[in-house]
Symmetry: C2
Subunit: 211 residues, 2 copies
């Protein structure tokens, strides 16, 4: 990539509010962010729209995307496929937009292999107890799904140290600003400013030759 744009992978416990944080960034800084929309074979939930929350596709269509190498990563979760379309991500980065990917850890690590400069953020409620309350309190899922989520949370927690940043979502607005601030800081990394570094080396080199 020629720009300093950041590929940001956001994971987090179910109930960590990661979806709201992503939407908040898109709303507050529409020029700076691109939100990747995943493909999935699961059914839409009430209120979800094709192309907004997900591209809802058939198993057959999903498997074609895999075969044609059109996905940055894909994984199965609770019996369904989820995957990240490659082209929109690469296009947004080339335009200098930070890309937001909301995926879980296996996907995050796969993308990190392909984009070593990707930044991995994990979102969490302020405590495990609060997490449990949020998972149960949402009330849109049956007991079996809640149980699966609690188990999933314990599996996810073990992977947190593979993330670069752990961000606590206590207040949504604060959390949006914190993620924004982290990504701004990332843009100052020398690895993202190689053109400027090269220019400084070249120009100061002329000084020492006595100009």
């Amino acid at each position: 990539m020629k720009t300093d744009a950041v590929l940001a992978i956001v994971s987090g416990f179910a109930g960590s509010g990661k979806g709201s944080v992503m939407k908040g960034l898109m709303k507050k800084y529409p020029e700076e962010y691109f939100l990747s929309v995943s493909k999935t074979t699961r059914d839409p939930r009430p209120g979800e729209e094709n192309g907004r929350e997900y591209y809802f596709v058939s198993d057959k269509e999903f498997e074609e995307s895999i075969e044609k190498d059109m996905l940055l990563e894909y994984a199965g979760y609770v019996g369904h496929y989820y995957g990240t379309p490659r082209e929109p991500v690469e296009e947004a980065l080339s335009k200098g937009k930070n890309v937001l990917l909301e995926i879980e850890i296996q996907g995050a690590l796969k993308v990190k292999e392909k984009f070593p400069d990707a930044v991995l953020l994990f979102l969490s409620p302020p405590s495990a107890e609060e997490l449990k309350n949020r998972l149960i309190g949402r009330g849109t899922e049956d007991a079996e799904t809640v149980k699966k989520r609690l188990k999933r949370a314990s599996e996810e927690a073990v992977g947190i140290d593979q993330y670069d940043y752990l961000v606590i979502n206590d207040d949504l607005e604060d959390c949006i600003e914190e993620v924004h601030s982290i990504l701004n800081a990332e843009r100052r990394k020398t690895i993202r400013q190689t053109a400027l570094v090269q220019e400084l080396i070249k120009e100061t080199g002329r000084f020492s030759e006595g100009e």
Copy 2:
């Protein structure tokens, strides 16, 4: 270290304003920062005060500090010794304060060996031309010193990619806020929040055991 405090090493071209940025951080956020004061064997410049800009010591005293392992790093520059006292740095970090070290690249890399989580920031004027103007324009040094500095700048530029962050100092206030923001972001790194990560693992582990 048990805290999430950051050991921040700030380098930069002479004329990059790194001293003013450090002072600005100390003034605006006195509770959050500790500015390490180096020992040096060079003479004080007009307006400099012992214990504020530097501890001005004799060659003999400096060499004793080396022998007694009281310095985190030390180096020679333009015929004088410069070194970082170890104890105040460790004490400030243990109290949860970010520590600011203003040292050059050799020292920075030596400290990074001892504190792998140290964050290296390099400050630069917005362009090499502006750098040259600032070096010459300060007008407090003779031609020979200016020439040495220009040469030094070209040597320093080659090392920039060993720093974590490159921060442009165009406007002092903006630069202070940018460094502050970078260090706040650093505090969200998972490597600095191991206690919280362990707590989340432990607590969510209890969920999956059916509690």
